[in-house]
Amino acid sequence: MSKQVLSVLVANHAGVLARVASLFCQRGFNIDSLTVSATDDPAISRITIVTEGDRQVLEQIIKQTGKLEETKKVAPLKANSSLFRELLLLKVEADEKVRREVCGICEIYRAKIIDLTVQSLIVELTGNPNKIDGFLTMMKQYNILEMCRTGVTAMERGYSVQTID
């Protein structure tokens, strides 16, 4: 089993996300995370999917997704030539006893504190999913009140652009 990030360009139509999700559900493909966003072309949306499977399953995921009528392109992104980013919002219990420690960890990870109360704070962290995992491991020693991650969004490095053939 290996992870795979897919950057999928789809027609910006109502229901296209449902079609992709329905396909994954129907065929038992995993979705670790899925994000949908606009592109510079208003007719096209980008769905970034992090999925998992052995070689045969990943091949099926790419081909079956590519077969949907509204899919314009499926690009499997290689880890070494792509940038992956995710945003984390984390609400941690932090009274005066631990606040300094928490802030110290945040500083190391270059996380931003964007909300503060006497008992808690909210941290914002952007980065590669591994970095966010690492940060969360460190934060587990404190009382995490709430957490949300956006899921991965991704782009290939360099001048080349993902286009519809």
């Binding site: 109502a14 079609r19 329905s22 045969q56 099926q60 081909k63 009528e69 509204e70």
Partner: protein, 553 residues
């Protein structure tokens, strides 16, 4: 010209060459029905007993002709009644356009009367579907539906039209009939490699399926078989592509395929899989399937490669184009040793014993084929009778054996047979069914009568759900749970009640007489054939097993 949505629909149907429409009226499609009234000379409408029957009729029409079948239903229950028919077409890659009405756009999402989100329901069983929210989009959406349904790997497309869109008006510009725009991109290196493998093989077998039918590639396939001297086995979906008497035809492959076909694939050093998808009824055990062979797969749908069985080479494109490109690269050849070995296996093929005093399934099928002839279209339901028909019908041409292969839809047959008859009024259409399947949709008898579609229905009546019961006999220690419903249906009386002619037969002479008469009547007929409930479909390879586990008695 300015037309309303319903008129635009009718215009596009005519423009796309639709001559026949199956369906059922209802509230949300009243405008459409009204518009179609003016087109009744151009588009013949068949109103069925039930929308499911209409969907199978559109499917049967498409399978028999290769043209896109069209079915029309109203919103809500009308639309949901299409679901089994759409799924049946989807699994067997049959081109179909299903048109549903829906409640007006202002009522959508309010749980209105007869409202259902049919686009959501049919998402996983259509190639694509559309909800048309503006009349300006209607014509092009319908054209897209026809294009998608009959291009590349074929399949059903649903177009859902809210009622207000069927009434709204806009400018309509006529367009041309859309032809499939698929073009095969030939990969010369891959073709050369495949040809070399085929030329060097000592024990080659072709395994072909429904893609050869939908791709109209029968002539190319036979040319390759004969030039290279390669025997071929077929799936349920491809019966008839190669004539049953052609010497290189090994016959049916898979769970109920014959001994020689299965052993040939098992022992082959090369398998050329053409337009087929390694389903669990053929590649019962994906690890063991053709494991001594180099497998070359030809398919129009790249997602079929390595889906169930990992293959060594693949050639993507229409089977017709690929085979045509392959043919000049293939050496004239013969494999006498290999064919001799297969010949020995053919001697082990299961041959059922005749008994004229009762009705033996193979003799019934034999008698049907003798009388209906080579031009007849055979349409089955699903179950034991289906496999008997597949095994014993004298298949001689494509599109003359229509059966629900992938979904295995009991109740498919009658509607599909009516669709085929609507397409080919001059060909005999024989609906071979079982008493289980027939009870599901026998109501379509009224359609056969209303439009005088003289389909002959032969009911293999063992008064049990035979295929279920066979599995219970073999695998469940004869615990016949749910498979012996003890029905006492009198088919002759029911037939008469519907306005058709009914016969009941208990031996072969009676059946032959009934069949002879039925062929001359030119009206729909039912023939109830009483068969023994212990009759089995043989041979049989249990699900997930290999050819050495084949059951022969």
């Amino acid at each position: 010209m300015i037309l309303n949505g319903s008129q635009i629909l009718a215009e596009v149907l005519v423009e796309q060459g639709v001559e026949v429409l199956f369906g059922y009226p209802g509230g949300s499609i009243l405008n459409i029905c009204d518009a179609l009234y003016d087109y009744r000379d151009k588009i013949k409408q068949y109103v069925t007993a039930h929308e499911q029957g209409a969907s199978h009729a559109a499917d049967g029409y498409a399978r028999a002709t290769g043209k896109t079948g069209v079915v029309l239903a109203t919103s809500g229950p009308g639309a949901t009644n299409l679901v089994t028919g759409i799924a049946t077409a989807y699994m067997d890659s049959v081109p179909m356009v299903a048109i549903t009405g829906n409640v007006g756009t202002s009522l959508i999402g309010r749980d209105s009367f007869q409202e259902v989100y049919i686009a959501g329901i049919t998402m996983p069983i259509t190639k694509h579907n559309f909800v048309v929210r503006r009349v300006e989009e209607l014509a092009d959406t319908l054209r897209a539906a026809f294009r998608i349904a009959n291009t590349g790997r074929k399949g059903p497309v649903l177009v859902d039209i809210p009622k207000d869109v069927t009434a709204a008006k806009c400018e309509f510009t006529p367009g041309p009939k859309i032809e499939g725009e698929y073009t095969t991109v030939l990969d010369d290196e891959a073709l050369k490699a495949a040809a070399e493998a085929i030329n060097n093989a000592e024990r080659p077998v072709i395994y072909f399926g429904g893609g050869v039918v939908s791709g109209e590639a029968g002539a190319e396939l036979r040319a390759l078989m004969n030039k290279a001297g390669i025997p071929a086995a077929h799936t349920l979906m491809a019966a008839g592509v190669v004539g049953c008497d052609e010497p290189l035809n090994l016959g049916l492959l898979g769970m109920h395929g014959n001994v020689a076909s299965n052993l040939a694939v098992d022992n082959a050093d090369l398998v050329l899989a053409a337009g087929t998808r390694f389903s669990d009824r053929v590649a019962l055990n994906t690890e063991a399937f053709a494991k001594k062979a180099t497998i070359i797969q030809i398919d129009i749908d790249p997602s079929e490669v390595n889906k169930n069985v990992l293959v060594d080479m693949n050639l993507i494109g229409s089977v017709k184009d690929i085979l045509a490109a392959l043919l000049p690269l293939i050496n004239e050849n013969s494999h006498p040793e290999w064919l001799k070995e297969i010949g020995e296996w053919q001697k082990q093929n299961y041959v059922p014993a005749d008994d004229d005093s009762v009705l033996k399934p193979h003799q019934v099928i034999g008698a049907i084929c003798e009388r209906a002839g080579e031009d007849a279209i055979y349409v089955t339901d699903v179950g034991q009778h289906q496999l008997w028909a597949a095994q014993y019908c004298r298949h001689v041409s494509s599109r003359h054996f229509l059966t629900s292969g992938g979904l295995g839809t009991m109740g498919f047959g009658y509607g599909a047979a009516l669709g085929a008859k609507a397409a080919f009024p001059d060909k005999p259409v024989i609906h071979i069914t079982g008493d289980g399947s027939f009870h599901m949709n026998m109501n379509e008898a009224c359609t056969a009568v209303s439009y005088n579609l003289p389909v002959i229905t032969v009911i293999m009546n063992n008064s049990v759900l035979g295929m279920v019961r066979q599995w219970q006999t073999v695998f469940y220690n004869r615990r016949y749970s749910g498979s012996e419903p003890e029905r006492v249906t009198d088919y002759v009386k029911v037939a008469e009640g519907f306005g058709l002619k009914g016969y009941r037969c208990t031996n072969l002479a009676q059946f032959k007489k009934a069949m002879d008469e039925a062929m001359t009547l030119n009206r729909p007929v039912w023939i109830d054939c009483v068969i023994d409930r212990e009759e089995k479909v043989l041979p049989m390879i249990p699900a997930g097993e290999t050819v050495d586990k084949m059951i022969l008695e």
